[in-house]
Symmetry: C2
Subunit: 219 residues, 2 copies
């Protein structure tokens, strides 16, 4: 009985923060309604278990795997925490100057995840100015496998995250057209020539001595 | 001296097939010109080694990592072979009915990569008909870690590949809005409601007993 109550509480809490994804939302609300009104708690949980779509994960906006042990996304909200737990993250590289929200800090603490913050301003074109040194320091953290699995994120996972991943791809010796193709896939209509120019001009020679985590997943 | 000649031959061969990426192309041609006309072979190779951008990898169109040991892309061409070698692939899941080209078959043979072909026709809307059974069989191959690292591809890595990855995400318990978000990132302007409806209706209950490779990369 206690487990059932806890499960329901968890459901309700997940609910509170989960505003954006109306589709899943609606589906859960419907089930909640059934559970609350017409059945005792234990049976309600039974119903939940049988309903297709139970315990669905909600990856953060623009989430993707970059390489072994490296992920990227937009800003994670509490609805994403259950999913993020499945990644077993060791660290997060956060690319905005704004302080990390308390709820996110609590999630990090309770999961032993280290936060590396590089406060890059989110200017809009034509005033974009990605600081070379911040990206360079972030790259060193990113390349250090002791920090893996690591999640890189900014606000929407498009520009600042796109620049950092772009520089990683250069280190991985991807040709520029492929680097830009990937950048544009995430930035879509918001793609910026200035970001792509930054990646093109970024000098990787001082980082070449670092061991580069490779896509290779040979077993 | 022999090594240098082989390296040049390799360059020339890579060239022959590498038509799409003009940017990299142009850069290589320029270097080739220098190598062929003004320097003896050994010095030419020296020059190549020093030029930034040497030995750049060209991932296939729409290439991305899906999860540990799982990759997706459009149709790989010879220009992509050097990159694909870094993935250490064990198998390829090919989702088109057309026979695999000889050059690609040779690449597979010389790298010990197994080909699993599921001939799904590439119909256009409103005549799209993704065969449920082919996707189901492909999923079983995809979930079998003995086949990893595995590359899924069709022609452009948008529709057929998008459907298979979408069904994998359902098995990984992603909510539908996130599954569709990922589908749309690769299909972009070519996104099809019919593909997304297929993924939504795809019944995963018969596959739930299979072990699901998870994003978790805990060390």
């Amino acid at each position: 009985m206690k487990v059932a109550e806890l499960q329901l509480q968890l459901h309700l809490q997940q609910h509170k923060h989960h505003r954006e994804r109306e589709e899943t939302q609606l589906c859960r609300k419907l089930r909640m309604g059934v559970a609350d009104l017409s059945l005792p708690i234990s049976s309600a949980v039974d119903v939940c278990d049988k309903v297709e779509g139970e315990d669905l994960f909600v990856p953060p906006l623009n989430f993707a795997m970059v390489d072994n042990g490296i992920f990227r996304s937009g800003f994670p909200e509490p609805a994403n925490f259950a999913f993020l737990q499945t990644l077993g993250l060791r660290s997060i590289i956060y690319l905005c100057p704004e302080p990390y929200p308390d709820t996110n800090m609590e999630f990090l603490k309770s999961n032993g995840i280290k936060l590396y913050q590089f406060g890059i301003e989110g200017h809009k074109e034509p005033f974009v100015n990605i600081p070379d040194d911040a990206i360079r320091e972030a790259l060193k953290i990113l390349l250090d496998v002791r920090n893996h699995p690591v999640l890189i994120h900014c606000k929407r996972g498009k520009h600042r995250t796109g620049c950092l991943v772009g520089c990683l791809r250069k280190l991985q010796k991807w040709c520029l057209s492929s680097v830009f193709d990937e950048y544009q896939r995430f930035a879509a209509a918001k793609a910026r020539v200035s970001d792509q120019r930054f990646v093109e001009l970024f000098d990787i020679s001082s980082l070449k001595h670092l061991p580069i985590p490779f896509s290779s997943s040979k077993r």
